[in-house]
């Protein structure tokens, strides 16, 4: 018996140390990436980065056009995706809860949630760039919106599901029409949860590269024309990092740091909002 206990103890120690070792290796790798990003990124941060356009190799420049382009396209994508996503999420959580269509749409939405983003890019290319014969910031925004959409739908759906039924019944009993119950009662009580979802969706799309390759493309110069190709951070990082020029590579690291930092801020904001909503309930 004691031999068995000893063996079990030994196995336990071996497995636990393996688990700790795995955890340390994994965390070390992730820490390494974080450290690389911060050290290379901070080295590239200066005033030029925010004020000058993307340069030809060998001359002074920054990422101003790409920063503005990314912000514009992400913002526009969120403007498109948020209302549609909230309404669709409302339908799936309320009206279509038990219907066949609702079930299918929920399933499809969950699949779109992790569908390869490059395929979204191809699809948007097919109905925007192909007919108009030119790349445009609109196409890029639509592609990003299609990636943000499922995230917003899903979070809206989950958050609305948490609103207690008696709350709706009380509003309905006061004589409020259905849409008013939804807008003033349900959306309002699920509001901060839905905002969390929107922030997470914004974080998700701000780093997306693949869908922009065939839609917004890139632009060496300053441009705010939505009908023309627009510079954006992810594609600039991709192009510049693969180039053989040191100064372009430095800009790529600077851009990578900026994007990651922005995403981190969005994620932390989302957490703060959701923590506040949980403490309120």
């Amino acid at each position: 018996m004691s031999a068995r206990v000893r063996r079990r103890g030994a196995v336990n120690i071996v497995v636990l140390s393996l688990s700790v070792a795995m955890a340390l290796t994994g965390l070390a790798f992730l820490a390494l990436i974080g450290w690389t990003l911060v050290s290379r990124g901070l080295a590239a941060i200066n005033l030029d980065l925010f004020t000058l356009e993307t340069p030809p190799p060998g001359s002074r420049g920054g990422l101003a056009n790409a920063i503005v382009g990314s912000a514009m396209m992400t913002g526009l994508a969120m403007l498109i995706a948020t209302p549609i996503g909230v309404l669709a999420g409302t339908y799936l959580a309320e009206y279509g809860r038990d219907s066949r269509f609702g079930g299918v749409a929920r399933f499809i939405n969950d699949i779109l949630l992790s569908a390869p983003s490059i395929l979204v890019g191809l699809f948007v290319y097919g109905f925007t760039v192909l007919p108009t014969q030119h790349y445009s910031a609109w196409a890029g925004s639509i592609a990003l919106a299609l990636i943000a959409l499922p995230v917003i739908v899903r979070s809206t759906q989950d958050m609305i599901g948490l609103v207690p039924v008696p709350l709706r019944e009380a509003a309905a009993a006061l004589g409020a029409p259905e849409w008013r119950v939804m807008v003033s009662i349900v959306w309002r009580s699920a509001g901060s949860g839905m905002l969390t979802g929107v922030l997470l969706a914004a974080a998700r799309i701000s780093g997306e590269t693949a869908p922009l390759l065939f839609t917004a493309l890139n632009n060496q110069f300053w441009s705010t024309d939505l009908n023309a190709p627009m510079a954006n951070l992810p594609v600039v990082i991709y192009r510049f990092a693969l180039s053989p020029y040191d100064d372009w590579q430095r800009l790529a690291w600077g851009g990578a740091f900026l994007i990651t930092f922005a995403i981190l801020v969005l994620n932390v904001l989302a957490r703060l909002v959701s923590a506040r909503s949980q403490s309120k309930v």
Binding site: V11, Y91, G96, L149, G161, L217
Partner: protein, 337 residues
């Protein structure tokens, strides 16, 4: 969720036709009913858009793939010549590359993320649990292009100088497995792509696995400990069997991500249309091929061949994700959620 909901059309309709209602009241109710119908229609259309997106994607990919598939026939799937000059397109190399890099990613990513999840739920001092868990979740948000450039500038030189020569020297001469480690150490290649993917899916799978581990009722865990089980036995015999379905679902979500990932792989996979038994050789994946060539594809056949690749990727990921979703749904159902 209760089924009893008083705000259905029927209730309002019944109320509207209630003979005792005041005359002015009926008009208001009719107005409300109309507003509700409009609101409901708008939400329905938004939800329908989600379905339309997927349907549109399928139609675009299938329609765009027709020219290449008719020209190449089924040999598109099992030949590996990709020649844009001769207009010959065989997709075997990118398909194989996608599957192999994803397999490597899973082979490394699953044990490590299970290790971290076990560490977080069973071993780690509770003070550290939250910070480490949060850090991992935040890392899951790092855009894949960052993993790509890290792989290119940091991992690749290390692989080329230290790890690959060691693999060639020690594993190369072995029978069978040796085949996987032949040829010069290029650095970039299928193995490099697989490792970068593994690092990328790591935080993702870890946070799902941890969440799934947490669904085990504390009572079950405590009973096992109470019977004298060691931590290992609790995890292997109680925790993992209890959430088996959820774990497989979570892993498959990670797999879906690894299969469709573009940027993390494109930097380091080598972008060469070749199939080699050796993992050290450069190769390509479906998404890397599309990302590299799509903007330069002007010939109809070439464009169509790339879209056909997209169709293949869609079918593979769709299957994996649908299975994953189905398994996670089964878990939810069992938990009565």
């Amino acid at each position: 969720m209760a089924v009893l909901c008083p705000m259905t059309d029927e209730t309002l309709a019944a109320a509207a036709e209630e003979p005792r209602a005041a005359p002015g009241m009926t008009g208001t109710l009719r107005l409300y009913r109309r507003q509700d119908a409009v609101f409901r229609a708008i939400t329905f259309l938004s939800a329908a858009l989600v379905v339309v997106v997927l349907a549109g994607m399928i139609v675009f990919l299938a329609h765009g793939a027709i020219p290449a598939l008719t020209a190449m026939g089924p040999s598109f799937f099992w030949t590996s010549d990709w020649d844009t000059v001769e207009d010959v397109y065989g997709a075997l190399a990118p398909i194989a590359g996608t599957l192999i890099t994803a397999t490597i990613a899973m082979a490394i990513g699953i044990p490590v993320s299970f290790g971290i999840a076990m560490f977080l739920t069973e071993i780690c001092p509770s003070v550290l649990r939250r910070p480490i868990g949060t850090a991992i979740e935040l890392l899951a948000g790092i855009p894949s292009v960052v993993f790509g450039i890290w792989g290119l500038f940091y991992l690749t030189p290390v692989l080329q100088e230290y790890i690959q020569p060691a693999l060639i020297d020690y594993l190369g001469p072995l029978p069978v497995i040796g085949m996987l480690f032949q040829g010069p150490p290029f650095g970039i290649g299928i193995l490099d792509g697989g490792i970068v993917l593994a690092v990328m899916v790591l935080p993702y799978i870890t946070s799902i696995t941890r969440d799934v581990f947490m669904t085990v009722p504390p009572l079950l865990r405590e009973s096992a400990y109470g019977m004298g089980c060691t931590t290992t036995e609790v995890v292997w015999k109680i925790v993992i069997p209890y959430c088996r379905v959820g774990l497989i679902g979570g892993v498959m979500l990670g797999l879906g991500r690894a299969l469709g990932e573009t940027m993390a792989v494109t930097f380091v996979v080598g972008n060469t249309y070749q199939i080699s038994a050796s993992l050290l050789a450069p190769g390509t994946t479906i998404s890397a091929a599309i990302a590299n060539e799509f903007n330069e594809a002007f010939e109809e056949q070439h464009l169509s061949a790339l879209i056909a690749l997209g169709l293949v990727l869609f079918l593979i990921t769709f299957t994996v994700l649908a299975l994953a979703k189905w398994m996670l749904l089964a878990l939810d159902k069992r938990e009565g959620r």
